[in-house]
Symmetry: C2
Subunit: 251 residues, 2 copies
């Protein structure tokens, strides 16, 4: 159930990696090689590549992971009107060949349809995020007493899931809300970011999320477990202890 987030930040690479011709791909490849037997999937976060003009290294990273037979979730949180959403879906699924993508629900159903139309791909709709500011909008209370994230969970499970390819992003920092979203959606799969650096609790999240698929994501805690030349070994150790912790709490 462990997903490893690949959020490469060249400023944090060991000097040996920084000197490589393709530092981001070299770093990612070392992390992937060291953890591939421990991860159910990988989640590259696209901003970390775009900020460095490293689209080619993102393409190579995704191809490398897929050639190992492991699925890739492209974390992009895209959201725009229909004709533009089609281009974003092309970016995620055709250009990069991702198996799934994260998207933002604020623009409504027609902004999501071009992604959902790829029936063999997964679409992770952002529902309740792990950051403190998530409450600003997602916890607003509606006229009927529901909070906004509950409404999004409801729409996702009961209106937008015609192709049975919808999943949700639910921060691991909010176990009570996670349990509520599970109640609303039934056995839908959730991606749980926020373990590790952001302080999410593995045990509480797995308990709260039981009853459907869970993918627990750790990104910076794993890939920057060491800032030295032993970063790949350290990433493996952290991934292993996180996976073991997850398995210990599975029912």
């Amino acid at each position: 159930m462990l997903c490893i987030g690949l959020d490469p930040d060249p400023g944090r690479f060991p000097l040996k990696i920084s000197r490589e011709k393709e530092p981001i791909f070299t770093f990612n490849k070392a992390v992937i090689d060291a953890t591939v037997d421990l991860a159910c999937c990988y989640k590259p976060q696209i901003a970390h590549y775009a900020a460095s003009a490293a689209e080619r290294e993102l393409e190579k990273t995704i191809t490398y992971i897929k050639d190992l037979g492991v699925p890739v979730i492209l974390d992009a949180k895209r959201g725009d009107v229909g004709s533009t959403a089609e281009k974003y879906a092309t970016e995620a699924f055709e250009r990069y060949g991702a198996d799934a993508v994260t998207i933002n629900p604020y623009l409504g159903h027609d902004a999501m349809e071009p992604f959902l139309a790829f029936a063999d791909k997964g679409v992770f709709i952002v529902c309740r995020t792990s950051n403190p500011g998530g409450a600003d909008i997602q916890n607003l209370v509606m006229q009927d007493g529901d909070q906004l994230f509950e409404r999004v969970a409801n729409l996702a499970a009961h209106q937008w899931n015609g192709n049975r390819n919808v999943a949700l992003v639910v921060g691991a920092t909010r176990p009570k809300e996670l349990a509520r979203i599970r109640e609303i959606t039934g056995e839908m799969t959730f991606l749980l970011p926020g373990i590790g650096t952001q302080g999410g609790d593995v045990a509480a999240s797995i308990k709260a999320g039981q009853g459907g698929g869970l993918i627990v994501t750790s990104s910076r805690a794993v890939i920057y477990a060491s800032s030295g030349d032993d970063f790949a070994d350290a990433a493996r150790q952290l991934a292993q202890s996180t996976r073991d912790e997850i398995n210990q709490h599975r029912q």
Copy 2:
């Protein structure tokens, strides 16, 4: 007040352009050269470049526009947790050198802060979009009777605008809601997409939005005014008639 949206779609280019080495940049350059005296700014929509792996052509397009002394709004509608939002802000403002960017409010204040911290850049927060599905989330009614887009407008104007660099995206297809957002925000600048292909009404939008800055965006209607080799001349004619229509309704 006319902003021209650069949403290049290689499938719609004249054959002569398709055969160029950099068809997207060549197409954009022809449109820009033909309209630069008519536009207050240009708005490239990033998905149209990403879908074609044309980041280099986007860079060249933005540099070309800025060298003409005209500002660029990068339409990206990004939104993610703080550490990732920093990377997206780097992408928009440092890599591409955009003067402003569009962002999505669903993740709350800490997802917007890295953009807002660039005090000399403009940050257009998506408030009420021009697409039919926009109502799914943006028109939800809160406990206090406000609709969600009204709450976003309120937060944008009264909590998130410490650097005085916030503006809003408000679809030109919703004049009544536009008038309400003007009431809430005072003299804030609005970007109004939805004129042209999406059916937005110039006269009604300008009337509803009066009392603050307005930037009226037309994208596909202008750049695909003709599918033939005369596309640049046709774009100029359409841009001119749209600008004249805007000016006719200004007070």
